[in-house]
Homo-oligomer: 335 residues x 2
């Protein structure tokens, strides 16, 4: 049976409803999963103006009913949604977005859905609505009671899992700790296993230029990173490193590695965003549920104009389905 994926509509004043309607107008998401939109049926319906092939919304009252729905099953929870005002920061829309995320996470924790995919929210909008978290990922982590989660970015055969995320580079340096690296390698190995990859070789990046060049440009490789890699290898994880940061991503792109553990946000984000263009997917690893997200924001500047691309959302849905245990497209039977 296809996994049920709860897809949160995000900020209705951003591009969320539009990219969702466009994605659900395509066959791939329906082939990969049973979607369950958590959000406002009216907003999705109006976004169908940009995607006439998207089926009409069909309100449902619980996750299991999604499989019987005729159209796009939509679960409405939380406060009533305001009318869309593209590009406007509306605290009422923020409160809805938060309620939808919370409902989706609860359903995933209860096993009612197999994973969640999130459309973009606007932090300022949520904060004006009384939201107390730094962002999407922290909120999801808190709802699942997780301390040790990791932000990662997947795009095709490139996967970067970061040992730290949204903090200054100076603070990120302080987070280069052996235990944190070991945990990240373990979390990465679990994710690659869930993806069902036959080969799961993890490259651990160095922190300094040339991976420190034998200590000449920094000692973290020798003192912290290499010992972490050794511990993980000892534990049976297929990993190696530390590698010079300026070629490890190129080597992954050429097929030598299946994932890179990155030492700070931009080390992984710069190369992935450069080559992924619109197919990048954010994945939160280390939490007890499957959660992927589009790799773009609310894009207020183009909201309501019909020009947003659904590519990242389609990729996020496909990846969530795969992480939920659905067979990868290449492994499906050809019936």
């Amino acid at each position: 049976m296809k996994p049920i994926l709860a897809i949160t509509l995000g900020d209705i004043n951003g591009v969320g409803p539009e990219v969702l309607a466009k994605a659900l107008a395509r066959p791939e998401p329906w082939q990969a999963c049973q979607p369950l939109v958590v959000g406002d049926a009216g907003a999705l319906d109006r976004a169908r103006a940009f995607a006439p092939d998207c089926p009409a919304p069909a309100p449902v009252s619980n996750a299991e009913a999604a499989r019987e729905a005729e159209g796009v099953p939509v679960l409405a929870v939380g406060p009533p949604a305001p009318m869309e005002r593209p590009g406007v920061i509306d605290p009422a829309a923020g409160a809805c977005a938060a309620a939808w995320i919370e409902a989706a996470v609860r359903m995933a924790m209860d096993g009612a859905v197999d994973g969640i995919v999130t459309c973009p929210i606007n932090k300022h909008c949520l904060h004006q609505g009384g939201f107390a978290y730094a962002g999407h990922t922290d909120f999801v982590a808190a709802l699942t009671g997780t301390q040790d989660y990791r932000m990662s970015l997947f795009a095709g055969n490139m996967r970067a899992v970061h040992i730290s995320s949204h903090c200054s580079l100076r603070e990120a340096l302080a987070q280069v700790e052996q235990g944190r690296i070991e945990t990240t390698v373990r979390i990465t190995a679990e994710a690659l296993a869930r993806l069902g990859l036959a080969r799961r070789h993890i490259a651990v990046a160095g922190l300094n230029p040339h991976a420190g060049e034998e200590g000449a440009f920094g000692a973290e490789e020798q003192r912290i990173i290499a010992p972490a890699v050794a511990v993980c290898r000892e534990a049976g994880v297929d990993c190696s490193g530390p590698y010079p940061p300026d070629t490890v991503f190129r080597r992954m792109r050429q097929g030598e590695f299946d994932a890179v553990v990155a030492m700070y946000h931009d080390q992984g984000h710069i190369p992935l965003k450069l080559v992924a263009m619109e197919e990048g997917v954010n994945v939160t690893l280390g939490i007890p549920i499957v959660r992927t997200s589009v790799d773009h924001g609310t894009a207020y500047d183009i909201a309501g104009k019909g020009v947003a691309s659904e590519a990242s959302l389609c990729a996020a849905i496909a990846l969530a389905a795969q992480l939920s245990g659905a067979p990868a497209p290449a492994e499906r039977s050809s019936k």
Copy 2:
């Protein structure tokens, strides 16, 4: 008249002679410049086994004679070269490589040649030969009496100029200073002018994720980088920023910027090496001569096997010719 470029042969036990013979077997370097090899004629001649179309070496005794030479003009200076031993660290080869660089730099300083292009050297090899510099670039800077030079990497329409180079990331953070950024922007603007680009828009990268997100992830953008950009704009330089590091290189690739000033080595090296593959060129900016270099090392593991690519050397020669004031290929008359 075409510029004369002194091309140093580098470590004869690396891939230098091979990639040079292969490059000079192609028409483009000859169209762009008058090459003058500074090195050993015998080593180049033997490397022609991998590139039969490369003209035979023709010994010359000074730079001006290069234009009259029949074949590849080769200027021999320094100690006699030992016989090649591919992949072997030979201090005698290192001593030759250093002498060739020194001679090339002196000729460029004297105006006898219009620029230099360097084939790879091996640091360990040079150090065993008594060489006192950290590497190629530091040596060239010392020979030209330059304090404020900048390492940059060019590849097609992507250009990254780094405010610091070979040091730990921790030390690089300490080098994020307003004056250093301003100098780098100015040096970058000069280089773009030398290239003859009609548009010369420089993007200055932030240091922290999301360029600090208004101070939430680091204060350097607000305290240091933005003021530096403001000073440069005030001085008439076409620049802007600071931009989020994880999209600024993608935006340059898409044509929005002509160069990025990068805050540390890997910030620029990771994206450039990812997309440049073999066409990347190292350029030393801020020195009083034109100097480009291949973007790879001696590659001892494949030296003497005939499998090395001349792509980076060809790109380095083309770029040096352009920086020397030769019209860019697209701007040449079509006669």
